[in-house]
Symmetry: C2
Subunit: 168 residues, 2 copies
DNA sequence: TTAAACTTTCAATTATTTCTGAAAGTTTAT
DNA sequence: ATAAACTTTCAGAAATAATTGAAAGTTTAA
């Protein structure tokens, strides 16, 4: 397989994976494109290589900046903005974990903890089932949350080393 | 807060989380409803409690069965099918991990490994960047995959115990 | 200033996903 | 056999999400 074909396939695959995980397909594709680019790209490059409009390119670049997955890079003597992706995969994983924790896990945990306060007849079967599920879930999601905190502090080798040692 | 209100909020929250993670909102809501139900529910119950059509209820129940997150339960003397959810949160987490691994991680890993074979001029900057990213990514995704395997075999307490011990 | 170069916005359009509900299919009891 | 009870299917409708592109906004150089 040649490079052009391989790039195309990678960008397409990454886009599909993104949308299966609730991330805008184009955002994932822009990210993929920048991940494999040896040098910074400008909006025009992205529009051209992915066949998307200026508005779409701009919006997804902005969103990737929000996630801190990409950075602006200034090219001396050029007014355009260029973009580069963070290339370290472990760092990328941490960024994504951090953001999803903040945007999704933490709010859910808050709701679950609030739902522990539900009042009513303690001998009611419905209430008992509800309370038990909420307690188990909030306990579990709490541990997930802590695990992400752990990962955010950890070194890649230690992290995988610990998890993988049992099946090495 | 009373039980009725709390249930509503839980179902709504779980549905939102589901769609943020690429799972159909209604499927997540049906799952949530069954998770907090002390007894098995039939299609009618679900249609009524979630205000969805028969077709929608049926399709999502079927899909939850595919995931093995719920099971049919037969009530003697009743021709209707009733459904119960697996209640053990660790077991649920493993089911979801297993299914997402199979449906999403494994196919991507296959593509990434295929993309290592790309041919071309080894001194080309573009090719070098591409190859390096693909190698790093396939290495990382491979470790993720193995970690999921590990989790699938592990006991909940051991798993979280190991991960959490550093920040306890 | 001002005009060219560039970025951002957003209303309208297009694409994608999900949902509905009635019809078709299946199973069971008699 | 047949009819009632129940489940599944699927074409069209509705809802949601993503995209376009032109206009408005901003920055910079001269």
């Amino acid at each position: 397989m040649n490079l052009t074909e391989a790039k195309k396939q990678f960008i397409q695959t990454w886009g599909t994976l993104g949308s299966e995980w609730g991330i805008n397909r184009t955002m994932a594709q822009v990210h993929a494109l920048l991940l494999i680019s040896p040098n910074a790209l400008c909006t025009e490059d992205i529009m051209e290589q992915l066949n998307v409009s200026r508005g779409n390119a701009n919006m997804n670049l902005r969103e990737l900046m929000n996630w801190t997955l990409i950075n602006k890079e200034l090219v001396p003597g050029d007014r355009k903005e260029y973009f580069v992706a963070e290339k370290d995969i472990w760092e990328i994983a941490r960024i994504i974990a951090r953001e999803r924790k903040r945007r999704e896990i933490e709010p859910v945990l808050k709701v679950l903890n609030g739902l522990k306060e539900v009042e009513g007849d303690q001998s009611d079967k419905e209430l008992k089932a509800f309370t038990e599920t909420i307690n188990n879930l909030s306990n579990f999601v709490g541990k997930m949350d802590k695990s992400v905190d752990m990962m955010l502090k950890a070194d890649e080798n230690w992290f995988f080393g610990t998890i993988l040692k049992m099946i090495k």
